[in-house]
Subunit: 328 residues, 2 copies
């Protein structure tokens, strides 16, 4: 399984809830995975130790493999050039944590640190739904809405490394309150969290609806976007309507992004994207309303292919590229 002649990489998706790591080959295939809780509340040092432990354990599984580097996608604001997590809503209290240098000095290999949503869209371009595309926008519908932008083959980080915060586009000026303090951000409508909140808020207006029952839960506090999806699959009208509206909100943002950036393709991943069939038609209708006619007709919007592996695969892709081993 391991070829001693070939290079291997460790990819890590460092989230606020879980550390998801894997061994990746030079074609973007995942050979082994490890999944542990982050336990952020135990503090920065313990999280870093746990991260090192996961990496070491993966490496020890294949002692004969030639590990050429480690790629880490982390939730939060990343200083790419310094290799630091500047700050992150997922890691309260962390300030300029030099993850890249810590990991690099422990394992004596090159390390690349980037934002998790950037890593995910890079992974999809390298080995997933975006192969062969040069201009892509990725959206990840999870706890928040992550975004990543690849233009002409390169991740666009912005002048200060803070580009791609597509979840914080204002789509409804007087809309829902977002965790960032603004009103009407895409994230406050289309994240998995927002889908749950919008569902709970709409239930009193539909007292006859048996969504909780169809989701097989007793209390709305147990509701997740997955449960709502399950109810939609079972034919629940309110659940279907919630996803339809989610599609409209996504289409509103995507329509503007088409007019601004004219990419080839949008790739949507993250937990809530499993409800694809329920939100896709409304999303495409809204895109046709919002975007200029010609690019609206040609745009492709597709589901991500790499699932939870996108970030760790993409982080390894960034390492490969930095070492001149492709992907271009």
């Amino acid at each position: 399984m391991i070829d001693r002649q070939l290079p291997y990489f460790i990819g890590v998706d460092l989230g606020g809830t879980n550390i998801h790591a894997g061994i990746v080959d030079s074609k973007g295939a995942v050979l082994a995975r490890k999944f542990v809780p982050t336990l952020v509340n135990e503090g920065e040092d313990r999280v870093v130790e746990r991260l090192c432990h996961v990496i070491r354990e993966l490496m020890e599984r294949y002692p004969s493999a030639d590990f050429k580097g480690i790629g880490i996608g982390a939730a939060g604001i990343i200083d790419i050039s310094e290799g630091e997590i500047v700050s992150s809503p997922n890691f309260p209290g962390w300030r300029n944590v030099p993850i890249r240098d810590i990991i690099s000095s422990r394992f004596c290999v090159p390390v690349i640190l980037d934002n998790d949503a950037n890593a995910a869209i890079f992974g999809e371009q390298w080995a997933g739904a975006g192969i062969g595309k040069r201009s892509l926008i990725g959206l990840t519908l999870g706890t928040g809405v992550g975004g990543g932008i690849i233009l002409d083959g390169l991740l666009w980080h912005g002048s200060e490394g803070m580009a791609g915060e597509i979840g914080h586009m204002t789509i409804v000026p007087d809309g829902r309150r977002c965790s960032c303090g603004n009103r009407g951000c895409l994230e406050s409508y289309a994240s998995a969290t927002a889908i749950v909140n919008r569902t709970i808020e709409s239930m009193p207006r539909h007292p006859e609806n048996n969504l909780l029952e169809m989701a097989e839960i007793e209390n709305s506090s147990e509701l997740t976007s997955e449960k709502i999806f399950q109810a939609a699959l079972a034919g629940n009208k309110l659940a279907e309507e919630i996803f339809r509206e989610t599609g409209t909100y996504l289409g509103l943002a995507i329509g503007s992004l088409i007019n601004i950036l004219n990419p080839e393709i949008f790739i949507i991943g993250g937990g809530a994207s499993q409800a694809w069939d329920f939100f896709y038609p409304a999303m495409m209708d809204e895109i046709k309303l919002r975007a200029l006619k010609e690019p609206a007709e040609r745009i492709r919007v597709v589901p991500a292919k790499l699932g939870n592996d996108a970030g760790l695969i993409g982080a390894c892709g960034l390492v490969l590229r930095s070492l001149g081993l492709a992907p271009s």
Copy 2:
């Protein structure tokens, strides 16, 4: 004035109303200008003849100058690689008009054709308000709202040459009807045309207001954004309010653009930008509400410096770059 050792360029801003052309040196200075009406209704051939005539006349003024190329910024959808005006609301009926090759074969020099808003922001970066900046977004508040995006020193044209249509970002989902067919585009709030329309619509709600009198006109059909600016300068409250609201709408769009692209600077030009002092404070307040905290604190939004020359200067800059004569 003309140095036979130096290269010179002809720059043209080809608009639906006027052809604005000039002789530009290799540093972006304009040595001579010519300004004629486009007279679009006379048809494509006559417009092309008039364009050639303007270029020839400028060249004949300085027979000893060594003209190395012609740059043209044109209103509409441009196919950069083919050098064609694909279509344009400003040139009704034009379809894939190969302006670049027509002009190039007439004058036997290299010709670059790009979108007028792209040319304008490139001009500002080369020789105006954006010198030394690598990531810029330009907005032109004219008949419409033009946009141009420069990322890491390069104009971003999009996968099909249709990027930068910032005027057609949706900023109010159920908002004003836009000429593109959508509702709530930035253009339908912040163009000079929209400023006039919003003023006329708000006048019945303020019957006591003497805006027309202060703008020194008799009838609202004579209203222009310049007249409204004049009334604001004279202390008219309604005119001031209209510009304040314009600032809020601009800030709404700019706030999202900061989160998406994290540029260094926004440069705002076009006729309606003369009311800068009236819309700037509301615009910056809205940006602080909408954009993420750190980039919102650092972003610079400045008025364009090159006025009506930005497009023709920038078009020449694009020629210089294509010839390897800088600007980088």
